[in-house]
Amino acid sequence: MRIGVFVCHCGSNIAGTVNCAEVAELAKSFPDVVYADDPMYTCAEPGQAAIEAAVREHGLDGVVVASCSPRMHETTFRRTVERAGLNRYMFEMANIREHVSWIGKDREANTNKAAELVEMAVAKLRRDRPLTAKTFDVVKRVLIVGGGVAGIQAALDCAEGGVPVVLVERESTIGGKMAKLDKTFPTVDCSACILGPKMVDVAQHPGITLYACSEIEEVSGYVGNFSVKIRRRATYVDWKKCTGCGMCGEKCPSKKTPDAFNEFTGATTAINIPFPQAIPKKAVINARHCRQLTKGKCGVCAKVCPSGAVDYAMRDNFVTEEVGCIIAATGYDLMDWTIYREYGGGAYPDVITALQYERLLSASGPTGGRIARPSDGREPQTVVFIQCVGSRDNSVGRPHCSGFCCMYTAKQAILTKDHLPLSHSYVFYMDIRAPGKMYDEFSRRAVEEYGAEYIRGRVSAVYPDGLGQYVVMGADTLLGEPVEIKADMVVLAVGIEAAKGASALAEKLCISYDNCGFFMESHVKLKPVETTTAGVFLAGVCQGAKDIPTSVAQGSAAAAKALGLFARDKLENDPQTAQVDIRRCVGCGKCVRCCPFGAVAETEIRGEKKAQIIETVCQGCGLCASTCPQGAVQLAHSTDNQILAEVNALCR
């Protein structure tokens, strides 16, 4: 074999602490190395051209580049060697930047370590074999999980782009958190008025199949060919017949059902349509509170329904959809703020979350848009807003900023003044984070035009004064003195976490998530929409805190990724898959048992049981290879012999 080694200076990034020329010189003594050089920037256009030239001039059949992390430039250089006529897998990288030059200053030790890493790469390359990708068909349909504003945007963009969409929503209506908002910052326009038409578009678009009251049960397959089993929860109403007239809700005698849509600020009926603009506008029975379903006596809704849609015997059912890619847009939930005992921990009726306050402000809310204290229905004169309750607080394991609370608090202060001109609002804040377009101007208006009093500092305690008001004790850290305010209502800007069940979904999708359940993107800066699982994209708050415009933008971005994927008729698999040497296989089935993807099938060859890899399903983890005692299963490009070669280069 004829191997060329290129030891990159990376300007002074590597050459600053590694003697690259010496590493290149040493490399010439490694087996099969016939050419070595130390270019200034290997990844730059002249650097890549030099590799191509060297391959041709010296008849190289393998290339080692010692430079940055393969996670950075492996693909770049694979393309380079391919242009030079080599198979792209006849290439190895030695990471002498992130793993050497950037983490140590001892030039001698670094140079020695760099040379060893090159030696390992050469040892592995000597056992590399050309690999060729296989192509497979793509199912040009997309599944979107979550019908909030990000999911809606992604669904509409995909459908407009000609790709059929399956939209799965857990609740009985799409709209997500945005549908619960009264107004939106920084324009203070009505949330329902801007979201409503989009929701209607979803319902009317022929390319969108909507499953509400549904959840993802099981995901199998791989990019281009996912098979997703969807659980359609029993609604006890046949939606094909339901016209959304609302008669059932009017007559339902179970009128004290907690109203989840209104954030439990009011009660509703056991059978209901969550709000007038709901999509689909269909009734759902809350089984826990329905008298017919709990006690077996009632049946009022079935009697009054003009279309006979009520079906108490309904059970969950399942549908399976075949799709080519999946967009997760599952949004967020509020963290459990009742751990804040100092704010009453949920015991004081007039200490509420901002989302509950939003429902009180809303004309479609339980009070019809009148701000009323949940305890006695009185209109508050003094409202205290406390920010960062469960955000930027390491003491409760929530180090992240929830992003949009500063802005909605300003909006709620403005709306409070609008609704109750004689009221006075106080805002306890840590910092005002208003980096968006028109955002800082907006939060200043709350102070300057609407007279909201912003106090920089934390609140240490809230307690009832026994006379119907609440004492809010805090500190003004700018003045350096304690503050005590008598408030009629306290509104908490509760921090967000990923939606309930997000981690379970992540595990089904084989994607990572962080401590608060937010899904991990593939690269923080350069791949914010992709995940490490090919064909799974992210949109909206499920990836991290973001406001409506950013969620919409990411919804469109995810749709662009899906449309880009489907622009090709065939996809190529990664040829770094497991392979079975059927001569060595004894058919014990240990690999079949372990494979996390069901990519190993049992087959019969001349009457003997053997393992067989389904190449398009295999993800290349290599678990089977380390499980097989005979070494009959080998993972291409990470074979036992290749890893052994690296180990042997180090230990002998």
Binding site: H99, I103, G104, G607, C621, T639
Partner: protein
Amino acid sequence: MPVMKGKELRIVGFLCNWCSYGGADTAGVARAEQPTDLRIVRVPCSGRVDSLFIVKALLNGADGVLVSGCHPRDCHYSAGNFYARRRLEVLKRFLPVLGIDDARFEYTWVSASEGQRWRQVVASFTSRIHALGKAPRLGEDAQALLKAVGTAALPPPPLRTLGTGKNAPLDSLKEAIKEKLPELECVIGWRQGYDAAHTTPLFIRKTEDIDKLVWGPLNVANPAVYLPRFKGGKTGIVVKGCDARSVVELLQENLIAREDVTIFAMPCEGTLDMARVNEKLGRYAVVDGVVRDEAGVVITVDGKEHRFDMAEYAQNKCRGCVNPAAVLADVAVGGAPEIPADAPVPLELGLLDAMSLEERRAFWSSRMKRCLRCYACRNACPMCVCRDHCVSDTRDPHWMTQEADVAQKLFFQTIHALHLAGRCTGCGECQRACPVGIPILALRQQTARAVEELFSGYRPGLDPAAVPPLLGYETEEQNIHEREWK
């Protein structure tokens, strides 16, 4: 390329591509300064890391080995690290029996975002290895310590009274076989060997063969080793309690089909340690007679009587046996004794337990020197199912070289022991077959002990439907806990 003399030790890292390799990159991007000793091998998943890579490195001069993967539940391949966690924990508990300090091997979880954690892991592990110093090579200190080992411990008293099977219902067994034989291709049992003092396997194909069947403490071989060769045909097998566990294990691994096997079980009263019997008999020309009584066997050779009391000459495994009756049988002849006690630590393993790491290295160096690489241990093992495809005999994969040094020989024993982890029923055939008497069973016993401790008392060969612990996982392991990095 040598490590930096005096400055560095040899530390090998296996990092998964998705989390930990990214974490190491993140640390680099953050310019998080780290010791330079570590050399990283990039693998797709921690589940790809065969424990044998680690032993290979440690036997060939690595001073420390670190494996790092995605945090549990975060695996890019959803479950690779769950499998890795089990296998690597078994390895960690196995290494000391070879005389390798388990502190030289560690596994951990670092995500792609945890650059600082990675720095801490590297710094902490490197300083740990520097505190341990350079790893001693096998054989270096052998001579000095040889006197410390080799003194045979006294065998523990057996859990039950061992006997010679004199009153075993052999005739009923023969009747049962006669009845079933027409449906079977063959029934495997024992017959008299080259003389009356030894037995060899018997393959009963015709009715007249049945009378050749013998029973008693000389039936040491495990007939289950032949079963997979009859795969596809209807086969009968006569088993002792220990042999039955091997049959169960073969069933569990789909190497034989339940409907194809007819198990004839006899309650076993113990078997003789033929190595010691042969040693006492010495060289002889003729066996004049073999007479059994309740407590022992009298073998007369060249006119001289030798008495072998079961209490003294039984195999060590029989002393600690808690399954004298077959756990699975189609035809069970005779009653089964109840054994209330738990199995004690096997003798061979107890011997090693009592040694220091240094002494164990010396022990294996001196014993493995005698290994002929004849692979009788492998061929006698009923669970060595690779047969002609053993990784020791091939260059693809090229795990072993042809060199006859102690490291290679011990490495083969390690391959065998780790391949048997969670599968070895402790039948002891490997050790019995060893022509030079190396107590290699201890290595298998150590893996069995680790598996039993880690996976709620799991013992192989008791339940054909059980999921072998190393082919499964729990998302929250009861007995495997993440070690803190300080």
